[in-house]
Structure formats: C-alpha cells, structure tokens
C-alpha cells in the first residue's frame, strides 16, 4: 500500500504548487546570487586619480584583509605612485627642497627619455625657466641658457640646431608635466594622506640621500636595523635591494614585481640604493586601505547569510523539481492502474521546441551577460541588477520548464523518438519512397536505382583513391544485396515447383523476404492454399459420390435379385409358347447385364476417386498375361478369333497389385473378345524397353474392331462416354476407364491407339529389377 502511495500521480493543484515553489526558489536563488555578485564588487578612488574596481573572489572570503588580492593591488598602486614621486622629486629638488635655479642639461635630460642624443653638446638651462616655458610656451631664440647664450651658439650645424631645439621643447614639456605632478603629489606623498610609508636610501657622490614620508630619521643606521625597526612598527613591510633583486617582505608582492616597479628609474635609484615600503599599523590614516577594510568587515556577515539562502533555495528548487519529474506523466486508467500519458503539446516536434527554447534561453543569458558587463563598468546602479536577474530567471524558468516536462512525459510514455521531426520526416520519406517504388512503373523501379548506382560509382571514382575504395565497397554491398534477392527468388521458385509437383500443402517461409519477393511469395502461398482447398473439396466430393453410388447400388441389387431369381423360376416352368420363351431369354440377358453394369459402376467410381487400397507385391507380368489369356481361351475360339502371342520366356517382374492387374487384363481381353471382328487375329506382344535409363515392360494388344471406331482414342477411356455404342453391346463401357485408372494407380502407363479399324492397347510398367534370368 505504501509502495502504491509512492507511485500515485500528483493532483493537478499539487503539481502546480510544486512548480510554483520550484520557480520561486529559482528566482530567490538567482536574486541572491545577483546580490552576492553585485556586493562582491566595489570601487575605490584614490587621490592620485585612479579608480579601482575590485571583485572579491569567494575563495578569498575567509582570508585576512592583508592576505587578500585587493590589499596587494592597493599596496602596489600606492607604491607605484610613491616611486614615481620619488623620481620626480629627485630631479626637481636639491637637498630635499625645490630648487628653481637648478641647472638642467637638456641634451642629457632628453637622453634619459630619448636615446641616441649622446653626441650632442651639453646645453644647460635653469629649471624655473624650463618649467615656465613648458607652461606658457617659448620662443627659443629669445630665451637664454644659464650661461646666457643663444641655443644657436651651441649648434655646429643647422641639423644639430633642429635636434637641440627638439630636445629643449621635450625637456620643457616633460619638466612642466613632472612639476604639476610633483605639486599635486607632494601633499599626498609627504603628508599624512596614505598609510603606505616609504624610506629610500640612495647613495650620492657626496654621501647618502634619504627620501621618506615617515617620521623615521635619516641617519647612519645599518640596513638590517632599519628593516627590523620597520618590521616591528608596521602592519606589513617590504625591503628591496635593487642591486641583488633581493626582497624581504611579509606581503605577497614578489621581487619581480618590484623590479618592474623600478625599471627605468636607475638614474634616480643609483647603485647601492636600499628601498623600504610599509603599511602603518591599524591604518590610522583615512585612505583607501581604511575604506576597503571597513567595507569588507561590514559585508562579511551579510554575504554569509546570502550564501545560506542560496543553498536552501537551490536545495528546495531541486527537490520540488525532482518530485514533479518523478510523478510527471502518471495517471490512473479505468482499472485504477498506473499508466503514462502525454499531453496534446507533446506531439509537437521536439527539435523545433528545443531550438526555440535554446534560442530564448540564449537571449536571456546574453541579457544577463550584458547586464553584468554594464554593472562592472559601473554604468548601472547595483540595486537594479537583482531585480532584472529575478525577472529574467522567472522568464527563463517559465520557458524551460514546459519543455522539460514535455521531454519527461515523452520519455516515460515512450513516445520520445516517435515525436521527433527526424522520425516523422524519415517515416514520411520512407513512405514516399515505398509508395513510389511499389506503385511506380517498371521503368521507375528498375532504371532509377540503376542510374543512382551508376552515378554513385562515377562520383565516388572521381573523388580519388578513397572514392574508388568506397565505390568498390558499395559495389560489393550491392552485389551481396542482389545475391540475397536472387537467393530469395530461388526459394520461391522451389516453392512453386513443389506446389506444381502436387505438394499443395507446401508454404514458402516469408519471414525474411522483402519487397517484390515478399509479394510474390504471398501470392504463391495463397495459390497453393487455393489448390489445396480445391483438392480437398474435390476429394471429399468424390468420396461422397462413391459412397452414394455404392449405397444406391446395394439398393438396386435387392430387387434385381428377385427379378433374376424369378426369371429363372419362370424358365423352369414348362412353358411351350416359343414367344414367351424368347421374351424370357431377353429378360434373363438384360437382368444379367444390369447386374454387370451395377458392379462396374461401383468399381469405376471407387477407382476414380482413389478409394481403393492396393496390395503392391512382386509379380511376373508375363505369367499374369498368360494366365489371363487362358481364361479367355474358350471365348476367343467361340468368336473364331486367333490369338498370336509373342511373350518372352524370361520373367518380367513388376510391382503391382496382382488381382487389380488381373482385372485390367480381364477388361482388355474381354473387350477384344467383344468388339473384334469375327475371324480376325488378336496380337499380344510383350517386350522389354529401355526408356531414359529405366527398364520397362510393355504389354501390347492389337485387334481389328468390328464396328467403326469413331471417337478419339483418349475418349475411349472416359467414363460413360461411349453412349450409343455401349447400348447396343454387352459391355458397360466402363471397362477401359477402370483399366486405365487402375494401371495409373499402380504407377504404370495405359494408352489406347486407334488406327483405322486397328485397335491398340499398350500397358507399360517399370521393371522391379533387372532381368533375373
């Protein structure tokens, strides 16, 4: 009972509710995910003008702030600015202060930024002048150098002048740009604006120069002492020795990254420089570090809650979907058993549906992608994203779930394959070809496949070696196919032959036949069936007829017995009236004739209906003929018929029913007695004949007919055919027919020939064995 409970189909309301729950969970899930996504990104603007977009990877969630990628990025960003600032200030300052009277060799300066100017002469200007020119523009021929010379005075040629002029302009522009940065960075880098501190120790010709934005005093301290001091005071620190590309740090920044940071600054950070960076403990200054750390700390519990929501809604969605999936398509039939049903929409071709759903879902996914991209670029408000995502998830679910359940129902009801476009198309195509093939003209059925075969071969051969091999394979396959067809046809022909030979019960096995052959075999089988039925009916009819004739003959015989007996009694009365005696004689003759007719009738009908049992035994045909002739010895001499016998001495052994064969001979000889012209000769000849390798014994009897023999010889043997003739004579007319049927029943052959008045009867039997003597 409990098991049956589980197999029950869902009530429609419950199903809808479950689907709704599933959808609800999906929407919650996607909205939550969107929330997590949007909150994992935030922007950090730095005073030096760069805005950073950070996404927090879920993998980093448990890590400390200092371990996170964002910390590293912020640190690197700050360090880059600081190094840059240090480089600039190195150029613009003298002993830590801005020096407007600092002399700048423009050719050397340009060489720093541009290569291949070393050959140029040194041209020095005051820094102030250059910055002013860079700011306001200048005319080189009016402004003088530090040595109070014109630029033209330095140039040895007009080409060199042009190059120098270029250098001057470049240096002025570059210096002004650096000066602007210097002004704006000065406060950020040197003041209390960032938690990142630096300490650069750079050796000079005169001794050592120290750059720092910390309270750390410049002094003759040892490198390791400084590192230890900084390590103790800082949140995180980096010590870098550019000469050895050596790094000592507790951050994730590598030596390679630092090397990249200082590339191109070799002029500033001369050989022997030592570099320290560190982040102040507990971020006392309100900068990007402090902001990000605060934001992360606020987000942490919030994200965890969201994750739980994600987990629950995913679980709930899957569970409700699973239940509906399991129960989908089930229904009770009339007997209360469970069956699987489909809906009307389930006959819609699955391929088209799948394509449409895939297209729609693709569009939705693309929309989500666009949305997230725009959000990442910062073009969208974060609050909008979950709303949009929720709507899209709802729509996507609505589109997909119908398709999904249809798929499940089809699969369960077993109609999945049969509703596909491929199947329907294939079926239609097959039907079309079959119809075209079966109803098409002979021309279509024979030439079209042949042409396709030829074309296929031609195309394949033109494709090259692979094609030739393909064509060979194709030809072999077609050969095998043709052989099979021929083989099947042969089976059918064999079946036809067997039916023709009389085995009307034979049926061709149609199980493996196809196409034309199948149609042919079915037709042959039905013909065979028809023949069998006809034969059976005819046998039955013949049997009934024989029974009828036999029974009637018994009934006729009883009164006939009385007639014959009383005619005989009458004859015993002493009747003297000649006429009366004559009449009595006729009565006697005719009643005897009637008796004979009845016996023959029964016999003939029995033999022709195959209703006799033959006792086949080995007998001497010649002996039997001699015995038979002896029986008619007197009758022959009564009619003055001379018998001319030519019977060999050796035994002619045949297999036959001796008493039936005697009857045949009796009929033939008595016929000869009755119908031969009085005073003529009857020839009886027996001989051995070789026919197609078989030894046969032949009996031949010839006599001259008394009356004109009109009918064809074959008709002589037909029952009841003799009509007028038989009425006048003493025989029943059935004798020859009986003889023929008997001989044929014993597998011999019986033939009558008429040549004018010459009547010939031929009986041939197969020899039982070779001549024994």
């Amino acid at each position: 009972m409990k098991k049956a409970e589980g197999k029950r189909p869902l009530k429609s309301g419950v199903r809808e509710l479950l689907i709704f729950i599933e959808r609800l969970f999906l929407v919650i899930l996607s909205v939550t995910l969107a929330l997590i996504f949007t909150n994992s990104f935030f922007q950090v603007s730095t005073p030096y003008g760069t805005t950073y977009h950070y996404g927090i990877s879920p993998l980093e969630r448990e890590k400390e702030f200092e371990e996170k990628e964002i910390f590293k990025s912020l640190l690197l960003g700050n360090m880059e600015q600081l190094v840059h600032y240090a480089a600039i200030s190195h150029r613009l300052e003298t002993a830590g202060e801005y020096d407007g009277k600092k002399e700048i060799d423009i050719t050397q300066y340009a060489a720093v930024t541009q290569e291949g100017k070393e050959k140029l002469p040194a041209v020095t200007y005051y820094l102030d002048d250059l910055i002013a020119w860079g700011n306001y523009g200048f005319e080189h021929h009016t402004y003088k150098t530090g040595e109070n010379k014109e630029l033209m005075d330095y140039a040895s040629s007009i080409e060199e002048y042009e190059v120098l002029k270029e250098c001057l302009m470049l240096a002025a522009e570059n210096l002004f740009e650096n000066y602007s940065k210097y002004i704006s960075f000065k406060e950020y880098c040197e003041g209390e604006k960032t938690n990142v501190k630096y300490y650069f120790k750079i050796p000079t010709e005169t001794g050592e120069l120290c750059y720092t934005n910390s309270k750390l005093e410049a002094g003759e301290k040892k490198t390791d002492d400084i590192t230890a001091l900084i390590g103790k005071e800082s949140q995180r620190f980096i010590f870098f020795d550019p000469d050895k590309v050596q790094i000592n740090t507790n951050t994730h920044i590598s030596a390679k990254q630092l090397k990249g940071l200082f590339k191109g600054q070799e002029e500033v950070f001369a050989q022997g420089s030592k570099i320290w960076f560190w982040v102040e403990k507990d971020y006392p200054i309100a900068d990007s570090f402090q902001t990000v750390k605060k934001q992360l700390e606020e987000l942490q519990p919030y994200l965890q809650a969201l994750e739980i929501v994600v987990f629950i809604s995913a679980l709930g969605g899957i569970l409700s979907l699973f239940i509906v999936t399991k129960k989908e398509g089930r229904a009770f039939n009339e007997e209360g058993n469970i069956i699987y049903i489909t809906k009307k929409s389930d006959s819609f071709p699955i391929e088209i549906w799948t394509l449409l759903v895939a297209l729609a879902e693709g569009i939705l996914l693309y929309l989500i992608f666009i949305l997230l991209l725009q959000f990442k670029k910062g073009n969208l408000e974060p609050a909008i994203i979950p709303v949009f995502i929720g709507i899209l998830a709802f729509t996507g679910n609505e589109l997909g779930i119908r398709w999904y359940f249809s798929l499940i129902r089809r699969k369960k009801a077993g109609s999945f394959w049969s509703t596909t476009l491929l199947y329907l198309g294939g079926k239609r195509g097959r039907e079309f070809i079959t119809e075209a093939y079966e109803n098409g003209s002979l021309l279509f059925r024979t030439w079209i496949p042949y042409l396709i075969f030829l074309m296929g071969n031609l195309i394949l051969v033109l494709l090259g070696l692979g094609g030739v091999l393909g064509a060979l394979l194709l030809d072999i396959l077609i050969g095998v196919f043709l052989y099979q067809r021929k083989h099947q046809l042969e089976e059918i022909v064999e079946g036809i032959e067997r039916i023709t030979e009389g085995d009307s019960g034979y049926r061709i096995d149609t199980a493996h036949l196809k196409g034309d052959n199948l149609r042919l075999a079915i037709a042959v089988n039905s013909i065979g069936k028809g023949i069998r039925q006809a034969v059976e009916t005819s046998m039955k009819d013949e049997k009934l007829k024989t029974d009828l004739i036999t029974n009637v003959s018994h009934d006729i015989k009883t009164p006939l017995t009385s007639i014959i007996t009383y005619v005989d009694l009458l004859k015993r009365e002493n009747i003297t009236n000649e006429k009366a005696l004559g009449y009595l004689e006729i009565l006697d003759n005719k009643s005897q004739r009637l008796k004979q007719l009845i016996d023959d009738l029964v016999e003939a009908s029995k033999i022709s209906s195959g209703n006799i049992t033959l006792k086949r035994e080995k007998i001497n045909f010649a002996e039997l003929v001699k015995q038979a002739l002896a029986e008619f010895d007197e009758k022959l001499s009564q009619k003055q018929l001379q018998l001319i016998c030519k019977i060999p001495q050796y035994a002619m052994m045949i297999e036959a029913d001796s008493s039936q064969l005697w009857r045949v001979m009796e009929n033939l000889i008595s016929n000869a007695c009755k119908y031969s012209l009085s005073g003529t000769r009857i020839y009886v000849e027996m001989e051995t004949r070789e026919e197609t390798g078989n030894q046969k014994y032949q009996f031949l009897m010839k006599n001259i007919s008394e009356s004109f023999l009109e009918p064809e010889s074959e008709e002589l043997t037909e029952r009841f055919m003799r009509g007028d003739l038989s009425r006048q004579t003493e025989g029943s007319g059935l004798g020859l027919s009986i003889a023929k049927n008997l001989v044929e029943a014993m597998e011999g052959s019986f033939k009558i020939e008429v040549d004018g008045d010459l009547f010939k009867a031929v009986v041939v039997f197969n020899a039982y064995e070779k001549i024994s003597r």
């Binding site: 009883t558 017995t561 001699k626 010895d633």
Partner: protein
C-alpha cells in the same frame, strides 16, 4: 431330412430360395430378420443357415456371431455387398460361404449341397489308403485314377489329372506355368504358350461350382497356380 433356415428381409427372395431348395428335397424354415432367425435355430433342428447381411434390426453379421455362440452349423451369407472387404469380414466372423446378390440360383443350390455334405461327412473318412489325396471336398484316388468332388465323380483328361495330382500332392505350394509344364511334359518349357493355363482353366470348370471364384484350384495372378490347403 435336412433343415435349412433362410433369412432375408425381402420376402420374395426368401420365397424363391425356398422353391429351389424344396425342389432339391430340403426342409425350409423362413425368417425375415435376425432376431427371428436366432429364435428359429433355438426351436428347430437347423442344419444350415442362408442369411442376408443388410437387415433391419439385428444385421446378418451380429446374428451370425450370436449363432456361433451356441452352434457350429454352416452359415452362408447372401448379400448385395460385393466388395472384397465385405466378403473377408463375413468369412472372418464365422460364415462358411459368401454369395453375392444377384446370385445364380443353381450356384446357390450347389454351394448349399457342398456345405451340407461337408458338414455331414465330417469325420466320416477313415481307413483311407496311402494313394488317396484329399483337399476338403476334393478327393483323388491315385490307384483307381478316380476324382470326386464332395462325392460327385468328375471326369478329367490324363493331362488334367496329372496337373491336379501334382497340385494336390503339394497343397498350398504355388506352381508357375513353367514349373507345371516341366513336371508334366517332362521337357524344358521353351515356347510353352498358355497350354498349361488353358488346361487348368478346364480343370477348374470341372471341379469348381463357380470357376470364377474357385474354392480349390486357385489362380495366383502373375505367379502361378495352387491347390488351396483345406
């Protein structure tokens, strides 16, 4: 006086048979169905029964079987059923002879006489000499060269006598025409036509009641001739 019971559902046939039998001096009892025949045999001392097979009520076959339960008197069936199978059935259930309708009245009388003689003579033959051969009712005395069939003397030619002697001495054995010829003429049977067969036919006509249905000298078609062992 010999009593014969004639039983047939066709009254005219019974009457006709009665006429023939009475002419031969037999006492005839008449019955028209099987039950009546059985009762008549119980009441009267019957020596022979002539009976039809197809009769209303108890048919001839069953009646004959009933008679055979108590009596061994000769029974001759007289039936319109002329098939071999019918004859074999009739003889097998205990009938002594089978005559088909329509019958030759003289043949019927001859067969009746034959059966009566055999029935009454049974066990009477004693003290026969060596030279006397016997097959049923057929007797050959080789000393006197006399042949009798059921007491009736038969006249045979010397060759016919020799052939019959050969056959009766080897009862049941089948002799081919050649063998008979060689035994009688004592020369090789080259060119022997149907002389032997004709002789045998003549013998049959002399010793048999109906030569076409011989009781003694039988034709074994395609093999030869034999004298049936009785």
């Amino acid at each position: 006086m010999t009593n014969i019971l004639v039983c047939d559902d066709e009254k005219e046939i019974v009457d006709a048979i009665e006429i023939y039998l009475m002419q031969e001096g037999f006492q005839v009892f008449k019955a028209y169905h099987g039950q009546e025949a059985v009762e008549s045999i119980k009441k009267n001392e019957i020596h022979l029964v002539i009976m039809d097979i197809m009769m209303p009520g108890t048919d001839g076959i069953r009646t004959a079987m009933k008679i055979r339960e108590t009596s061994s008197i000769p029974i001759i069936f007289l039936s319109a059923k002329s098939q071999d199978a019918d004859k074999i059935l009739g003889l097998n259930i205990g009938a002594d002879d089978y005559i088909t309708k329509p019958f030759n009245p003289l043949e019927l009388v001859a067969r009746v006489k034959s059966q009566i003689r055999r029935y009454t003579m049974l066990g009477n033959i004693a003290g026969e000499k060596e030279k006397i051969y016997r097959a049923g009712g057929l007797l050959i005395n080789d000393d006197t060269k006399e042949v009798t069939v059921e007491g009736e003397p038969v006249k045979l030619t010397p060759i016919e006598y020799n052939i019959l002697c050969l056959l009766i001495k080897n009862q049941g054995r089948v002799f081919s025409i050649e063998q008979i010829y060689e035994q009688i003429w004592e020369e090789e049977a080259i060119g022997a036509d149907n002389t032997v067969a004709v002789h045998i036919r003549h013998i049959r006509e002399k010793i048999e009641i109906n030569p076409k249905e011989p009781r003694y000298l039988k034709v074994v078609w395609g093999v030869g001739y034999k004298l049936e062992k009785q």
